[in-house]
Symmetry: C2
Subunit: 355 residues, 2 copies
């Protein structure tokens, strides 16, 4: 018997690299290529540092209220946390306590199985179809909860509200979490379903469409009952998860809807252009509704391309995992960054052909 | 069977009130009455908001390195989190996974039993002596881990390094967490014991002595092995817990040791003065080595004083709990704030006597 016997041993999630080099093109963590809404600067300019001595508002009210207003729900329907990872982690801890396995796709956000492991939640992987789609009928089986992203990560595939509703309505005794981290890049949110389904929890983030990955803000919207349960668990773990400066920056950025629409539109346009360019270079990919493209080359090896791009100081994401080991997840950057990517890919593929 | 059967039902921790009133004297959450080190302003002035679009450093290296330098340990011995609550919560999840009960004092930080409940950890309360002291022999029994604050909260009582070492050395097969949230107000840290004991984890915070409760920064120092285990769990819950602005502010404040010494000295001086004043008003209290005094009046009822002070817009902390229901925990404020407290107490107690 040693203290090590009592240690929770886990295989942690591996986040995408955050290289500390200058002059790199970082298309590996789905960050937004544009800065956050300019008004955020006003918060930094006017913040009184003497306020730091006081605890922040444990209810994060200013941000909760701003989100409620933005999404047309009640403040009691909003939960905020330290990025959507914190929010989903809390949701796993709160809602997935049964003995039956929770269900999620086999190809999906690679944190789900890590949370299930750390919280000792049994789970069952539901294979996506060959073209990476969710088949709602596969989720009509006994389960202790359901989670999937829409659009899915890392595929970028969007499911219709009809598909989502089919899953939710078939599972009234389970919490269904729809992880909408990438919904603002052309997808339709499940928010309209909230009035009909008490068991639906929608999770979104400021890390992608709102250019604030660095501030760590995520949120969930659901029935008041679900949010109360989540807050009980949150207040059993850490009363004050978000600092006051973060709350203010988050609330401020929600005020500038024009900027938000403008930057997401630019990213969508760059993505659509990327689809043409990557196809010309010999890539295939499921149609993406996110800020990344999940691309496979017709002949060249994904791991090789990944390594070669890195030598060109271009970082994309690659997983050596079943079903996806020939794919690269490429974040949509600025048009200039994408041009450098296309140039590099052209050279890499030309060399490969002559090799 | 309904989704509610799978919900983790808990009784959450109740933080001290954060009233949104102006012109109140807030002596209820052990906040520092002085602002953080002035150099923190430089961080806000120079921070480039476009950096917010990128994820922060998941390893929080700038803050980890600054703490390692400040406390003379290796960076691999430092873990940082969103306040010491986040750090202790992670430590509970990481180290307290056995079937034997963990041990902590019956009168102590009221979050310990909440964490034990939320993580389903069995625990046993070890009564403090009549004068609120820890008796090391009481901890020489089978256990799955040990935690206590030093100085203890809400009593303010400091135990000697000899007492601490007696507990640690008697429990080589348990992780012993010493929660030093209040150590900078005149106590001796257990840091010198780290070289001898691999099973010791020391937790501190920026919320009290460093005036940064609002920024949520806590840290643990221990053997490299302990910190690795904690990081594995942390990376299984949320890769990026601390935002980049917070990391920079935290690292910056560590640079100004003179300011830190000056403000903690002022608080200690005000506390020593408060001991005289409160004794004159008829209060008794264990000798405090923290930034609060845990005081009981010889004749007047604690709940009555608490309510009356609130009417005077002075907030202190009161728990209607066994052994401590006649005590008030009074945070040490500025000398001016304390003067207003003494005046109010004088009036309340005079009225009580004539009543």
């Amino acid at each position: 018997m040693s203290w090590e016997d009592n240690v929770r041993k886990v295989v942690p999630y591996t986040p995408g690299e955050q290289p500390k080099l200058d002059d790199i093109i970082k298309l590996n963590t789905n960050e937004n290529p544009y800065p956050p809404a300019p008004a955020v600067q006003e918060i930094l300019d006017s913040f009184d540092i003497s306020l730091m001595r006081k605890y922040p508002d444990p209810n994060a009210q200013i941000l909760v209220d701003a989100l409620a207003k933005t999404y047309g729900v009640k403040s009691s329907q909003v939960f905020v946390g330290v990025g959507s990872d914190d929010v989903i982690s809390m949701a796993f801890m709160t809602f997935f306590n049964g003995s039956k396995p929770i269900l999620f796709p086999d190809v999906t956000y690679s944190f789900y199985d890590v949370w299930a492991d750390v919280y000792r939640i049994p789970y069952r992987l539901i294979p996506l179809t060959d073209d990476f789609r969710i088949e709602p009928k596969d989720y009509a089986q006994e389960n202790g909860g359901i989670i999937f992203p829409n659009p899915n990560a890392p595929t970028g595939v969007l499911e219709s509200l009809g598909t989502i509703e089919e899953i939710i309505s078939a599972n009234p005794d389970s919490i269904v979490i729809v992880d909408e981290a990438y919904i603002d890049f052309g997808g339709m949110s499940a928010l309209p379903l909230l009035d009909k389904y008490e068991n639906l929890l929608i999770v979104q983030t400021f890390s992608k469409s709102r250019s604030m990955a660095g501030m760590r803000i995520g949120f969930a919207i659901g029935s008041g009952k679900l949010i109360r349960y989540m807050n009980d668990v949150k207040f059993s773990v850490n009363s004050y998860t978000m600092n006051q400066l973060t709350l203010l920056c988050g609330a401020k950025t929600l005020e500038d809807d024009a900027y938000f629409c403008n930057t997401t539109s630019k990213i969508i346009a760059t993505r659509e252009d990327a689809k043409t360019k990557l196809a010309e270079l010999g890539f295939t990919f499921p149609d993406s509704y996110s800020n990344f493209i999940f691309a496979k080359h017709q002949t060249a090896d994904a791991a090789m391309i990944f390594d070669q791009l890195k030598k060109c100081r271009i970082f994309v994401r690659y997983w050596n995992k079943p079903r996806i080991s020939q794919y690269l997840r490429i974040t949509v950057g600025t048009p200039q960054e994408m041009d450098r990517l296309y140039t590099a890919l052209t050279e890499i593929l030309a060399e490969e052909e002559t090799a």
